[in-house]
């Protein structure tokens, strides 16, 4: 018992004890100072945002506490060069972690130089179309037409195709149309030319183009392309089809619904047709008791009796 007490008291009087004491004092002072300083910094800079407050408090606490801990360790005689090795490994880890951010920053710099679009332009990336609000370090911000905010990383912009809808001053509107087989295509072309001449938004030059596309299943299909100033594109897109429809109606030009022809063939009997009398019990039923969609004749092919 007494020998333990003697060795303890001897130790306490030695130089090691003093340095341990200093280290403990530094730790305590460091922790207290860190807490005070971080609270003060939060009060100064981040009163309003709890998000920023949390970050500032943590960062400042750990930095200051870390400094005092390092100082205490130095006092106790530890060699701090070990920490430098750890710092090196930490840097490599940080480098790997920030790969995408660095790529975004560099992509942003290239984009600034290349200028595929500017603020205010309307662009389409993938299936997002919107107005460019800002081109920042890491990303570009878009506002879609239904007023949603989209953040597109610069890396995506560099890697993918972007369509800039507002780069050129005029834009072509392609209208796909079909007219019935009985119509005269030359007459239809003349009519379409009259309609576009009357519409002031449709540019006289470049002239509207008529492109025949094919003998479709139900109609003769063609494309009619007209040009308009970029600002008037939507107005043209809405007014021209209405005017074309009105002109077609006025001149009895048919835009047909999809057609299906039922053909019984040369070697079979034609389909029989039976007219149901006007005073039948309910619509859609026949006066016979047979099931709807059938006939009582056995001769028709393709039906059941």
């Amino acid at each position: 018992m007494e020998s333990i007490w003697t060795s303890v008291s001897e130790f306490l009087r030695g130089p090691q004890a003093v340095s341990i004491l200093y280290a403990i004092i530094k730790l305590i002072v460091g922790l207290v100072a860190a807490r005070l300083v971080s609270a003060a910094l939060v009060k100064l800079f981040a009163q309003t945002s709890p998000h920023h407050a949390a970050i500032i408090r943590r960062v400042s606490f750990y930095v200051i506490a870390g400094l005092f801990v390092a100082s205490a360790l130095l006092e106790l005689g530890f060699d701090l060069s070990v920490l430098l090795g750890a710092a090196g490994i930490l840097t490599v880890a940080l480098g790997f972690a920030s790969q995408t951010s660095a790529s975004n920053v560099i992509s942003g710099l290239f984009l600034l130089g290349e200028k595929p679009f500017a603020i205010g332009d309307i662009i389409r990336i993938g299936n997002i179309t919107g107005e460019v609000l800002s081109i920042d370090l890491l990303s570009a911000k878009l506002r879609t037409f239904d007023n949603l905010f989209v953040r597109v990383p610069n890396e995506t912009i560099i890697k993918s195709e972007i369509t800039n809808l507002t780069r050129f001053p005029i834009r072509r509107f392609d209208l796909q149309l079909g007219v019935a087989y009985k119509e005269d295509l030359d007459y239809v072309r003349e009519l379409l030319t009259e309609v576009t001449d009357r519409n002031p938004l449709c540019l006289d030059e470049p002239r509207p183009i008529f492109i025949f596309q094919g003998f479709g299943d139900s109609a003769l299909t063609f494309q009619y392309s007209t040009w308009a100033a970029r600002e008037n594109y939507l107005a043209l897109k809405n007014s021209l089809p209405t005017e074309i429809k009105a002109a077609f109606d006025e001149h009895d030009i048919e835009i047909p619904f999809p057609h299906r022809t039922l053909y019984t063939g040369a070697v079979t009997e034609p389909f029989p047709v039976r007219v149901v009398s006007a005073d039948a019990s309910a619509p859609g039923t026949t006066s016979d008791k047979s099931a709807p969609g059938t006939t009582s004749d056995k001769s028709a092919s393709g039906t059941t009796s």
Partner: protein, 276 residues
Amino acid sequence: MKKQVWWGTFDFDDDEAGCWHVGPTTLWIYRSARSWHLVHIEAHDPLDDSASIDQPKPITDTSLSLDDLPPDANLMRYSFQETDKRCTLTPALADRSVVVKPDLPLYILAGESVTLYVSTPLWIRIEVGATPRLLQELPSIRPSDTWFGPSTREGELCYGLKTVGRLRLESLPLRLHRAITPIHVRNHGSDAMHVDRIQLPVQYLSLHEGENHFLWTEAVNLDRQAGGEVAAVRFERAPPAEAGPTTLLKGPRLQLRANMIVRTFSSIFNRLSIDT
């Protein structure tokens, strides 16, 4: 129908109105104590070339009621603390360049020149007050938009005229809603020049009233340089001799600066028809 000169200064008492027919456009102007009302109706017949005034009339005596306007009428109202009785109507040239085609395809051989007479539609400027303040500028006819330039990427939005440039002045009828511009085209090149379409920058021209109330602008000179497609444009300083004695109605919209060169391009769209 006899044509009346529709521009000038008119006095309206309180609650009086007036009706103007300027080409295809009908314009009603109403004055009340604190506001002016304008009703603009564009007719559906672009070839209508009437010109008449029916003013002043009491506001209750008009065939058009402000409460019951036809669907294609455009009503504009201007509020004032107190309205002045004076209203001034002035014709003005188009606010964009105008693209013109000659009536027949035209080739000008080397060293030759030709004069085309072109009529461009006019705008109606409505100003009120003793010191005129602009209420509105309305087109007498809304011309079709068109593009003029070397490609679809560069160029200028202009108005395309449905009427053609004529080689003979006598074939131009008197129309009080259009102004006549003589265009002198000269070919200084070594080969024939095909005049397909011409861009006329009317914003730099001023408007003059000549003999018999014909409206004229200064003549424009287009010179095709040796070996080049691009023609340099020069404007004369005075109205043309064909106009007779003239009075200036309206100065140019834009001033031509001393070192500014206005160029006009010839036809460019042949290669664009191949895209699908």
